[in-house]
């Protein structure tokens, strides 16, 4: 078991380095979409919540799972959509509209 934890910690540390490497390249003008977008992917917790909501272990357990699924889904759906809404506004050339 402790071995498994060590592997997990290794994965975590290496992934942090990947994160630093990738995210330092995001320019300042995209920092808000970066936040909402990375926020959306942190909704990956939903995969844990899905199993709990469906494993029918006890009613209380299921309720916790369903609420967790709902919260994580808001995070995911809201996050990706609002990020897309923002990103489609960023344009290099001006439109003829105004």
């Amino acid at each position: 078991m402790a071995e498994g934890l060590m592997v997990s910690i290794t994965v975590f540390v290496l992934a942090m380095f990947v994160g630093f490497e990738v995210i330092t390249k995001v320019p300042q003008i995209l920092h808000t979409p970066l936040m909402s977008g990375s926020n959306a992917i942190s909704g990956i917790t939903v995969v844990g919540a899905l199993v709990i909501a469906g494993r029918l272990s006890s009613p209380f357990d299921t309720i916790l799972g369903v609420v967790a699924v709902a919260l994580a889904t808001i995070n995911i759906v809201g996050g990706f959509l609002v990020t897309d809404r923002m990103l489609q506004m960023f344009r290099k050339k001006e439109d003829g509209t105004r």
Partner: protein, 465 residues
Amino acid sequence: MTATAGGIIPLFIDFSYLLAATFFIFGLKLLSSPATARRGNILGAVGMLIAVVATLFDQQILGFGGILIGILIGSAIGVLLAVKVKMTAMPQLVGILNGFGGGASLLVAAAEYVRDPNPAADVAVTIMLSVLIGAVTFSGSMVAAGKLQEVITGRAVTYPLQKTGNALVFAVILLLGIYLIAAPQNPQLFTVFTVLSLLLGVLLVIPIGGADMPVVISLMNSYSGLAGAATGFVLHNNGLIITGALVGASGIILTQIMCKAMNRSLTNVMFGAFGSQVTAGAGRSATGLTVQEVTAEDAAILLGYARSVIVVPGYGMAVAQAQHNVRELTSLLEARGVEVKYAIHPVAGRMPGHMNVLLAEANVPYDKLYEMERINGEFERTDVALVIGANDVVNPAARNDPSSPIYGMPILDVDLAKNVIVLKRSMNPGFAGIENELFYRPNTRMLFGDARETLTKLVAELKKV
């Protein structure tokens, strides 16, 4: 989920998580340019879809009713929030979404505890950690969002013995956590642990003023990632750990950038209670200097006959929702042959990149938005710097008054421009409660009023020029 269960399906599910994480990394990579960013976001969403669909094949899942309800409710609220939110309210929305991510991590860890209230020590460690980080993220983000929405006062809330009290709460949480790891089978104590963790989130954010919210939002962003990673530890899920670490790293980087842009340490932001008091100015500084007011007509003439104008937006533009009016004014100027650029300070607004999103909404092309380092050398050669609702980020005291609380903070050097026009609601000092000597400079003209109304007047006057 658990690869240890054996068989081809768990292997397939684990593989799909790795695939999802790969999509996330590529998606974030594409965020390095506005031209590819939208594709990056879509790539991230596809990765998420892969992970969710694969999870539904998990053989532990016996019923889909609850799952369906959760997904339907979550999607409906998510769509509603994303479609309805105004661009000016983006910091609140990101705050709330951060909080929900933390809340989900908290609930998943709590459910694992409910299923097996007597876990081995290493599992217990990860559960307690996940509950603590998830709870602090949830309640802290909700308070931050409340402050941004001004449901709760945006000022720093302080009271006697605050730090001692917070330290005490934290110490109790630590002790309870350690006790619960050693002897987990104690649902009452677990509940106390959870409630105290939620309380800690509130206590940590309450003393932080509105102007420091960019740091708090970034920090909570980081926590929401770390909470996800902690959940990954609980569930032995590498996909979750990788993704959580990515988001955690992102939040940490943004937090660092924000702190650097305010020349303050994270400790100072978190515990310094900046902006707890308001010092009211009354049209003159302590030294008795007075400001020079200008009419919209004169300001329009100054702008209309300038060769170069740099617009410096701040939180005041967001509050007045004046980004479209700014755009209208600058379009007119550009039509007259005036060269217009925008100077964006990293902490202008209430979250990283706030001003850029607002100006993008108003159709300003992003190659006209300049970061501080790139534009500061140009103010000297600029005819008019137009400051719209920005204050502390243009205060020259940061450069030349060692006694000022913001001394050393990198600022936009607008005072070096030949003329400065400041659009401001009143003479009240900015959020940090610091007098701004820019307003008393001989080359500065003040144009008082609501930013949107003032800009409308300027546009009307400019059309006559």
